[in-house]
Symmetry: C2
Subunit: 196 residues, 2 copies
DNA sequence: CAAAACTTAAACCAATTAGTCTAGGTTGTA
DNA sequence: TACAACCTAGACTAATTGGTTTAAGTTTTG
Protein backbone atom coordinates (compact mmCIF):
# COMPACT_ATOMS: atom_id res chain seq x y z
CA UNK A 1 0.00 0.00 0.00
CA UNK A 2 1.23 3.48 -0.84
CA UNK A 3 1.93 6.00 1.87
CA UNK A 4 0.72 9.57 2.08
CA UNK A 5 -2.71 11.07 1.55
CA UNK A 6 -4.84 10.47 -1.51
CA UNK A 7 -5.90 13.21 -3.89
CA UNK A 8 -7.47 16.11 -2.05
CA UNK A 9 -9.61 17.40 -4.89
CA UNK A 10 -12.10 15.36 -6.87
CA UNK A 11 -10.79 15.02 -10.43
CA UNK A 12 -14.29 14.50 -11.75
CA UNK A 13 -15.57 17.66 -10.15
CA UNK A 14 -12.63 19.66 -11.46
CA UNK A 15 -13.17 18.11 -14.88
CA UNK A 16 -16.78 19.20 -14.78
CA UNK A 17 -15.73 22.74 -14.06
CA UNK A 18 -13.25 22.63 -16.92
CA UNK A 19 -16.02 21.35 -19.15
CA UNK A 20 -18.14 24.39 -18.35
CA UNK A 21 -15.35 26.72 -19.41
CA UNK A 22 -14.66 24.81 -22.64
CA UNK A 23 -18.38 24.73 -23.36
CA UNK A 24 -18.76 28.45 -22.88
CA UNK A 25 -15.57 29.63 -24.56
CA UNK A 26 -14.49 26.91 -26.96
CA UNK A 27 -11.12 25.19 -26.95
CA UNK A 28 -8.83 27.96 -28.14
CA UNK A 29 -10.44 30.77 -26.22
CA UNK A 30 -10.42 28.85 -22.95
CA UNK A 31 -7.15 29.96 -21.35
CA UNK A 32 -5.31 27.90 -18.79
CA UNK A 33 -5.76 30.74 -16.32
CA UNK A 34 -9.53 30.75 -16.61
CA UNK A 35 -9.69 26.98 -16.59
CA UNK A 36 -7.62 26.70 -13.41
CA UNK A 37 -9.55 29.47 -11.71
CA UNK A 38 -12.80 27.61 -12.33
CA UNK A 39 -11.37 24.23 -11.49
CA UNK A 40 -10.01 25.59 -8.23
CA UNK A 41 -6.72 23.72 -8.45
CA UNK A 42 -3.15 24.69 -9.20
CA UNK A 43 -1.40 24.52 -12.51
CA UNK A 44 0.77 21.69 -11.28
CA UNK A 45 -2.14 19.57 -10.13
CA UNK A 46 -3.80 19.99 -13.50
CA UNK A 47 -0.74 18.84 -15.42
CA UNK A 48 -0.08 15.99 -13.00
CA UNK A 49 -3.67 14.80 -13.21
CA UNK A 50 -4.76 15.50 -16.76
CA UNK A 51 -1.55 15.73 -18.79
CA UNK A 52 -2.01 18.89 -20.81
CA UNK A 53 -4.65 21.21 -22.15
CA UNK A 54 -5.64 19.02 -25.08
CA UNK A 55 -6.08 15.86 -23.07
CA UNK A 56 -7.95 17.84 -20.42
CA UNK A 57 -10.25 18.98 -23.19
CA UNK A 58 -10.71 15.51 -24.59
CA UNK A 59 -11.62 14.18 -21.13
CA UNK A 60 -14.01 17.08 -20.60
CA UNK A 61 -15.61 16.48 -23.97
CA UNK A 62 -15.99 12.81 -23.17
CA UNK A 63 -17.63 13.61 -19.86
CA UNK A 64 -19.96 16.05 -21.58
CA UNK A 65 -20.92 13.58 -24.25
CA UNK A 66 -21.56 10.75 -21.82
CA UNK A 67 -23.62 12.92 -19.51
CA UNK A 68 -25.58 14.37 -22.38
CA UNK A 69 -26.14 11.07 -24.18
CA UNK A 70 -27.26 9.37 -21.00
CA UNK A 71 -29.66 12.18 -20.21
CA UNK A 72 -31.20 12.06 -23.68
CA UNK A 73 -31.45 8.29 -23.61
CA UNK A 74 -33.19 8.41 -20.25
CA UNK A 75 -35.69 10.97 -21.45
CA UNK A 76 -36.46 8.89 -24.51
CA UNK A 77 -36.76 5.62 -22.62
CA UNK A 78 -39.03 7.04 -19.93
CA UNK A 79 -42.27 5.23 -19.21
CA UNK A 80 -45.15 6.00 -21.50
CA UNK A 81 -45.39 6.54 -25.22
CA UNK A 82 -42.15 6.71 -27.18
CA UNK A 83 -43.50 9.45 -29.43
CA UNK A 84 -44.54 11.47 -26.42
CA UNK A 85 -41.04 11.12 -24.98
CA UNK A 86 -39.56 12.44 -28.21
CA UNK A 87 -41.94 15.37 -28.08
CA UNK A 88 -41.05 16.11 -24.49
CA UNK A 89 -37.36 15.98 -25.29
CA UNK A 90 -37.78 18.41 -28.16
CA UNK A 91 -39.87 20.71 -25.99
CA UNK A 92 -37.17 20.78 -23.33
CA UNK A 93 -34.58 21.57 -25.99
CA UNK A 94 -36.84 24.30 -27.30
CA UNK A 95 -36.91 25.87 -23.88
CA UNK A 96 -33.18 25.50 -23.30
CA UNK A 97 -32.01 26.90 -26.61
CA UNK A 98 -34.63 29.64 -26.67
CA UNK A 99 -33.28 31.17 -23.48
CA UNK A 100 -31.09 34.24 -23.94
CA UNK A 101 -27.51 33.36 -23.08
CA UNK A 102 -27.91 29.72 -24.04
CA UNK A 103 -24.62 28.18 -25.05
CA UNK A 104 -25.88 25.46 -27.36
CA UNK A 105 -24.46 21.95 -27.48
CA UNK A 106 -20.80 21.48 -26.67
CA UNK A 107 -20.45 18.94 -29.48
CA UNK A 108 -21.69 21.50 -31.98
CA UNK A 109 -19.53 24.25 -30.58
CA UNK A 110 -16.46 22.06 -30.87
CA UNK A 111 -17.43 20.92 -34.34
CA UNK A 112 -17.16 24.52 -35.42
CA UNK A 113 -14.22 25.32 -33.20
CA UNK A 114 -11.78 22.78 -34.52
CA UNK A 115 -10.08 22.58 -37.83
CA UNK A 116 -12.03 20.09 -39.90
CA UNK A 117 -8.84 18.26 -40.76
CA UNK A 118 -7.92 17.76 -37.10
CA UNK A 119 -7.31 14.03 -36.98
CA UNK A 120 -7.40 14.02 -33.20
CA UNK A 121 -10.82 15.47 -32.61
CA UNK A 122 -12.89 14.86 -35.75
CA UNK A 123 -13.28 11.09 -35.19
CA UNK A 124 -14.31 11.69 -31.59
CA UNK A 125 -17.04 14.09 -32.62
CA UNK A 126 -18.15 11.82 -35.45
CA UNK A 127 -18.52 8.95 -33.03
CA UNK A 128 -20.62 11.04 -30.66
CA UNK A 129 -22.90 12.08 -33.49
CA UNK A 130 -23.29 8.45 -34.46
CA UNK A 131 -24.26 7.50 -30.94
CA UNK A 132 -26.72 10.37 -30.78
CA UNK A 133 -28.21 9.30 -34.10
CA UNK A 134 -28.58 5.76 -32.80
CA UNK A 135 -30.40 6.92 -29.70
CA UNK A 136 -32.91 8.76 -31.85
CA UNK A 137 -33.12 5.71 -34.10
CA UNK A 138 -34.08 3.48 -31.18
CA UNK A 139 -36.77 5.85 -29.98
CA UNK A 140 -38.26 6.25 -33.43
CA UNK A 141 -38.24 2.51 -34.02
CA UNK A 142 -40.01 1.99 -30.75
CA UNK A 143 -42.63 4.58 -31.64
CA UNK A 144 -43.17 2.68 -34.87
CA UNK A 145 -43.62 -0.68 -33.19
CA UNK A 146 -45.99 0.99 -30.74
CA UNK A 147 -48.04 2.11 -33.71
CA UNK A 148 -47.48 5.82 -33.10
CA UNK A 149 -45.49 6.47 -36.26
CA UNK A 150 -45.86 5.29 -39.82
CA UNK A 151 -44.07 1.90 -40.00
CA UNK A 152 -43.22 2.56 -43.64
CA UNK A 153 -41.02 5.54 -42.79
CA UNK A 154 -37.27 5.04 -42.49
CA UNK A 155 -36.27 5.41 -38.85
CA UNK A 156 -32.66 5.93 -39.97
CA UNK A 157 -33.56 8.92 -42.13
CA UNK A 158 -35.80 10.37 -39.43
CA UNK A 159 -33.11 9.98 -36.79
CA UNK A 160 -30.63 11.84 -38.95
CA UNK A 161 -33.09 14.63 -39.56
CA UNK A 162 -33.65 14.88 -35.82
CA UNK A 163 -29.90 14.99 -35.25
CA UNK A 164 -29.27 17.86 -37.64
CA UNK A 165 -32.36 19.83 -36.75
CA UNK A 166 -31.61 19.80 -33.05
CA UNK A 167 -27.97 20.63 -33.63
CA UNK A 168 -28.99 23.53 -35.83
CA UNK A 169 -31.47 24.76 -33.26
CA UNK A 170 -28.86 24.58 -30.51
CA UNK A 171 -26.36 26.44 -32.66
CA UNK A 172 -28.64 29.22 -33.84
CA UNK A 173 -30.02 29.53 -30.32
CA UNK A 174 -26.66 30.84 -29.17
CA UNK A 175 -27.40 34.23 -30.68
CA UNK A 176 -31.17 34.34 -30.25
CA UNK A 177 -32.95 36.33 -27.58
CA UNK A 178 -36.37 34.80 -27.98
CA UNK A 179 -37.92 31.37 -28.14
CA UNK A 180 -39.75 31.94 -31.43
CA UNK A 181 -37.39 30.06 -33.72
CA UNK A 182 -37.04 26.99 -31.47
CA UNK A 183 -40.82 27.00 -31.11
CA UNK A 184 -41.34 26.88 -34.85
CA UNK A 185 -38.65 24.27 -35.34
CA UNK A 186 -39.95 21.91 -32.69
CA UNK A 187 -43.53 22.31 -33.87
CA UNK A 188 -42.59 21.51 -37.46
CA UNK A 189 -40.31 18.66 -36.49
CA UNK A 190 -43.02 16.94 -34.49
CA UNK A 191 -45.45 17.40 -37.36
CA UNK A 192 -42.89 16.02 -39.78
CA UNK A 193 -42.47 12.94 -37.62
CA UNK A 194 -46.19 12.33 -37.36
CA UNK A 195 -46.79 12.83 -41.07
CA UNK A 196 -43.77 10.86 -42.19
CA UNK B 1 -7.33 65.30 -57.82
CA UNK B 2 -4.81 63.51 -55.64
CA UNK B 3 -1.35 62.69 -56.88
CA UNK B 4 0.38 59.33 -56.81
CA UNK B 5 -0.92 55.90 -57.75
CA UNK B 6 -4.15 54.45 -56.44
CA UNK B 7 -4.25 51.29 -54.39
CA UNK B 8 -2.26 48.54 -56.02
CA UNK B 9 -4.16 45.65 -54.53
CA UNK B 10 -7.90 45.14 -54.73
CA UNK B 11 -9.31 45.44 -51.21
CA UNK B 12 -12.27 43.26 -52.14
CA UNK B 13 -10.04 40.49 -53.43
CA UNK B 14 -7.87 40.65 -50.33
CA UNK B 15 -11.00 40.64 -48.19
CA UNK B 16 -12.19 37.54 -49.99
CA UNK B 17 -8.92 35.81 -49.19
CA UNK B 18 -9.20 36.84 -45.56
CA UNK B 19 -12.73 35.47 -45.53
CA UNK B 20 -11.47 32.07 -46.65
CA UNK B 21 -9.04 31.93 -43.76
CA UNK B 22 -11.62 33.02 -41.21
CA UNK B 23 -14.05 30.51 -42.63
CA UNK B 24 -11.59 27.66 -42.39
CA UNK B 25 -10.00 28.50 -39.05
CA UNK B 26 -12.48 30.61 -37.13
CA UNK B 27 -11.77 34.05 -35.70
CA UNK B 28 -9.37 33.23 -32.87
CA UNK B 29 -7.38 30.59 -34.68
CA UNK B 30 -6.89 32.75 -37.76
CA UNK B 31 -3.54 34.40 -37.06
CA UNK B 32 -2.51 37.69 -38.61
CA UNK B 33 0.41 35.91 -40.21
CA UNK B 34 -1.77 33.39 -42.00
CA UNK B 35 -4.29 36.04 -42.96
CA UNK B 36 -1.64 38.31 -44.47
CA UNK B 37 0.02 35.44 -46.27
CA UNK B 38 -3.27 34.54 -47.92
CA UNK B 39 -4.26 38.11 -48.61
CA UNK B 40 -0.88 38.74 -50.23
CA UNK B 41 -0.43 42.18 -48.68
CA UNK B 42 1.75 43.62 -45.96
CA UNK B 43 0.81 44.12 -42.34
CA UNK B 44 0.82 47.86 -42.81
CA UNK B 45 -1.55 47.77 -45.76
CA UNK B 46 -3.97 45.64 -43.81
CA UNK B 47 -4.09 48.02 -40.85
CA UNK B 48 -4.27 51.07 -43.12
CA UNK B 49 -7.10 49.59 -45.15
CA UNK B 50 -9.15 47.55 -42.70
CA UNK B 51 -8.34 48.99 -39.26
CA UNK B 52 -7.64 45.93 -37.17
CA UNK B 53 -8.30 42.22 -37.00
CA UNK B 54 -11.81 42.51 -35.64
CA UNK B 55 -13.02 44.99 -38.23
CA UNK B 56 -11.33 42.95 -40.93
CA UNK B 57 -13.30 40.00 -39.68
CA UNK B 58 -16.58 41.91 -39.58
CA UNK B 59 -16.05 43.06 -43.15
CA UNK B 60 -15.17 39.54 -44.24
CA UNK B 61 -18.24 38.17 -42.49
CA UNK B 62 -20.38 40.79 -44.19
CA UNK B 63 -18.97 39.90 -47.57
CA UNK B 64 -19.55 36.23 -46.89
CA UNK B 65 -23.13 36.81 -45.82
CA UNK B 66 -23.97 39.00 -48.77
CA UNK B 67 -22.45 36.61 -51.26
CA UNK B 68 -24.12 33.64 -49.66
CA UNK B 69 -27.52 35.27 -49.27
CA UNK B 70 -27.50 36.51 -52.83
CA UNK B 71 -26.56 33.09 -54.14
CA UNK B 72 -29.34 31.40 -52.19
CA UNK B 73 -31.86 34.03 -53.22
CA UNK B 74 -30.92 33.57 -56.87
CA UNK B 75 -31.26 29.82 -56.67
CA UNK B 76 -34.66 30.14 -55.06
CA UNK B 77 -35.91 32.76 -57.50
CA UNK B 78 -34.77 30.89 -60.58
CA UNK B 79 -37.29 30.29 -63.31
CA UNK B 80 -39.58 27.34 -62.87
CA UNK B 81 -41.40 25.95 -59.86
CA UNK B 82 -40.56 27.47 -56.47
CA UNK B 83 -40.76 24.10 -54.76
CA UNK B 84 -38.40 22.62 -57.30
CA UNK B 85 -35.95 25.46 -56.66
CA UNK B 86 -36.03 24.72 -52.94
CA UNK B 87 -35.38 21.07 -53.67
CA UNK B 88 -32.47 21.92 -55.94
CA UNK B 89 -30.97 24.21 -53.32
CA UNK B 90 -31.20 21.52 -50.67
CA UNK B 91 -29.66 18.99 -53.03
CA UNK B 92 -26.73 21.28 -53.71
CA UNK B 93 -26.25 21.77 -49.97
CA UNK B 94 -26.41 18.02 -49.51
CA UNK B 95 -23.60 17.62 -51.97
CA UNK B 96 -21.51 20.42 -50.50
CA UNK B 97 -21.75 19.39 -46.87
CA UNK B 98 -21.43 15.70 -47.62
CA UNK B 99 -17.99 16.18 -49.12
CA UNK B 100 -15.06 15.25 -46.87
CA UNK B 101 -13.25 18.40 -45.85
CA UNK B 102 -16.33 20.58 -46.10
CA UNK B 103 -16.10 23.60 -43.85
CA UNK B 104 -19.78 24.24 -43.29
CA UNK B 105 -21.35 27.68 -43.21
CA UNK B 106 -19.24 30.57 -41.98
CA UNK B 107 -22.20 32.01 -40.09
CA UNK B 108 -22.59 28.78 -38.17
CA UNK B 109 -18.88 28.48 -37.51
CA UNK B 110 -18.80 32.00 -36.11
CA UNK B 111 -21.92 31.42 -34.09
CA UNK B 112 -20.05 28.72 -32.25
CA UNK B 113 -16.74 30.53 -32.27
CA UNK B 114 -17.77 33.67 -30.45
CA UNK B 115 -18.77 34.17 -26.89
CA UNK B 116 -22.55 34.27 -26.83
CA UNK B 117 -22.45 37.47 -24.82
CA UNK B 118 -20.32 39.26 -27.39
CA UNK B 119 -22.35 42.40 -28.03
CA UNK B 120 -20.37 43.19 -31.15
CA UNK B 121 -20.95 40.05 -33.14
CA UNK B 122 -24.16 38.44 -31.86
CA UNK B 123 -26.50 41.06 -33.37
CA UNK B 124 -24.73 40.79 -36.71
CA UNK B 125 -25.22 37.04 -36.81
CA UNK B 126 -28.79 37.33 -35.63
CA UNK B 127 -29.54 39.74 -38.44
CA UNK B 128 -28.05 37.39 -41.01
CA UNK B 129 -30.13 34.52 -39.72
CA UNK B 130 -33.21 36.69 -39.99
CA UNK B 131 -32.44 37.56 -43.57
CA UNK B 132 -31.84 33.92 -44.37
CA UNK B 133 -35.13 32.98 -42.74
CA UNK B 134 -36.91 35.63 -44.80
CA UNK B 135 -35.47 34.32 -48.03
CA UNK B 136 -36.80 30.86 -47.22
CA UNK B 137 -40.09 32.43 -46.21
CA UNK B 138 -40.47 34.10 -49.60
CA UNK B 139 -39.74 30.92 -51.48
CA UNK B 140 -42.17 28.88 -49.40
CA UNK B 141 -44.88 31.50 -49.76
CA UNK B 142 -44.41 31.48 -53.49
CA UNK B 143 -44.63 27.71 -53.60
CA UNK B 144 -47.88 28.01 -51.71
CA UNK B 145 -49.38 30.56 -54.07
CA UNK B 146 -48.28 28.38 -56.95
CA UNK B 147 -50.27 25.57 -55.39
CA UNK B 148 -47.25 23.35 -54.76
CA UNK B 149 -47.45 23.43 -50.98
CA UNK B 150 -50.35 23.25 -48.57
CA UNK B 151 -51.64 26.84 -48.21
CA UNK B 152 -52.74 26.07 -44.65
CA UNK B 153 -49.16 25.50 -43.48
CA UNK B 154 -47.30 28.35 -41.81
CA UNK B 155 -44.53 29.55 -44.12
CA UNK B 156 -42.86 31.25 -41.15
CA UNK B 157 -42.59 28.00 -39.22
CA UNK B 158 -41.40 26.11 -42.27
CA UNK B 159 -38.78 28.74 -43.06
CA UNK B 160 -37.41 28.48 -39.54
CA UNK B 161 -37.26 24.73 -39.74
CA UNK B 162 -35.39 25.03 -43.02
CA UNK B 163 -32.99 27.49 -41.43
CA UNK B 164 -32.08 25.26 -38.50
CA UNK B 165 -31.99 22.03 -40.44
CA UNK B 166 -29.60 23.38 -43.06
CA UNK B 167 -27.41 25.00 -40.42
CA UNK B 168 -27.28 21.72 -38.53
CA UNK B 169 -26.44 19.80 -41.67
CA UNK B 170 -23.67 22.25 -42.51
CA UNK B 171 -22.27 22.01 -39.01
CA UNK B 172 -22.34 18.26 -38.66
CA UNK B 173 -20.99 17.93 -42.20
CA UNK B 174 -17.70 19.40 -41.01
CA UNK B 175 -16.72 16.12 -39.41
CA UNK B 176 -18.46 13.70 -41.78
CA UNK B 177 -16.69 11.71 -44.43
CA UNK B 178 -19.74 10.52 -46.32
CA UNK B 179 -22.89 11.98 -47.81
CA UNK B 180 -25.28 9.65 -46.02
CA UNK B 181 -26.46 12.01 -43.30
CA UNK B 182 -27.03 14.99 -45.62
CA UNK B 183 -28.87 12.62 -47.97
CA UNK B 184 -31.26 11.53 -45.25
CA UNK B 185 -31.76 15.06 -43.98
CA UNK B 186 -32.55 16.53 -47.38
CA UNK B 187 -34.86 13.67 -48.25
CA UNK B 188 -36.80 14.04 -45.02
CA UNK B 189 -36.90 17.82 -45.22
CA UNK B 190 -38.40 17.76 -48.70
CA UNK B 191 -40.95 15.22 -47.57
CA UNK B 192 -41.78 17.33 -44.55
CA UNK B 193 -42.37 20.34 -46.77
CA UNK B 194 -44.62 18.45 -49.15
CA UNK B 195 -46.64 16.85 -46.35
CA UNK B 196 -46.87 19.99 -44.25
C1' DC C 1 8.56 10.48 13.97
C1' DA C 2 9.70 10.45 9.26
C1' DA C 3 9.00 9.71 4.69
C1' DA C 4 5.81 9.66 0.94
C1' DA C 5 1.96 11.56 -1.55
C1' DC C 6 -0.20 15.39 -2.33
C1' DT C 7 -1.01 20.27 -2.41
C1' DT C 8 -0.33 25.47 -3.75
C1' DA C 9 1.92 29.59 -5.30
C1' DA C 10 4.93 31.60 -8.03
C1' DA C 11 9.01 32.06 -10.81
C1' DC C 12 10.33 31.01 -15.17
C1' DC C 13 10.59 29.82 -20.35
C1' DA C 14 10.00 29.89 -25.22
C1' DA C 15 6.78 30.90 -28.52
C1' DT C 16 3.16 33.49 -30.37
C1' DT C 17 -0.08 37.03 -30.39
C1' DA C 18 -2.07 41.67 -32.23
C1' DG C 19 -0.56 45.89 -33.25
C1' DT C 20 2.90 49.93 -34.24
C1' DC C 21 6.44 52.03 -36.52
C1' DT C 22 10.28 52.99 -39.55
C1' DA C 23 12.93 52.83 -43.70
C1' DG C 24 13.13 52.32 -48.36
C1' DG C 25 11.19 51.31 -52.95
C1' DT C 26 7.86 52.06 -56.76
C1' DT C 27 4.58 54.48 -59.46
C1' DG C 28 1.90 58.09 -61.45
C1' DT C 29 0.76 62.77 -61.98
C1' DA C 30 1.01 67.91 -61.38
C1' DT D 1 11.47 66.31 -62.34
C1' DA D 2 9.78 66.28 -57.91
C1' DC D 3 6.49 65.06 -54.79
C1' DA D 4 2.68 62.47 -53.10
C1' DA D 5 0.38 58.17 -52.66
C1' DC D 6 0.95 53.71 -52.21
C1' DC D 7 3.50 49.63 -51.41
C1' DT D 8 6.63 45.89 -48.83
C1' DA D 9 9.69 44.02 -45.46
C1' DG D 10 10.89 43.70 -41.16
C1' DA D 11 12.17 45.40 -36.57
C1' DC D 12 9.92 46.21 -32.45
C1' DT D 13 6.65 46.25 -28.27
C1' DA D 14 3.82 44.61 -24.73
C1' DA D 15 0.97 41.11 -23.45
C1' DT D 16 -0.46 36.44 -23.31
C1' DT D 17 -0.10 31.80 -24.36
C1' DG D 18 0.79 26.73 -22.85
C1' DG D 19 3.94 24.39 -20.28
C1' DT D 20 7.89 23.35 -16.72
C1' DT D 21 10.12 23.65 -12.56
C1' DT D 22 11.13 24.85 -7.93
C1' DA D 23 10.25 25.66 -3.11
C1' DA D 24 7.55 25.26 0.69
C1' DG D 25 3.64 23.50 3.20
C1' DT D 26 0.09 19.80 4.59
C1' DT D 27 -1.70 15.33 5.49
C1' DT D 28 -1.59 10.57 6.05
C1' DT D 29 0.44 6.30 7.13
C1' DG D 30 4.28 2.81 7.77
Amino acid sequence: MSRGPNKKFEPEVALGKAMEVFWLRGYEAASLTELLQNMGISRKSMYDTFGNKQSLFLKALEQYAQTRLRSIREQLLASGSALNNIEQLLKSMQKTHGKPGSTGCMLGTCTADFNTSDVEIAPVLRSYYNRLENIYYEAISQAQTEGELNPQASPRDLARMLLCTTQGMALVGRVLDSETIPQSVVKMTIEALKKS
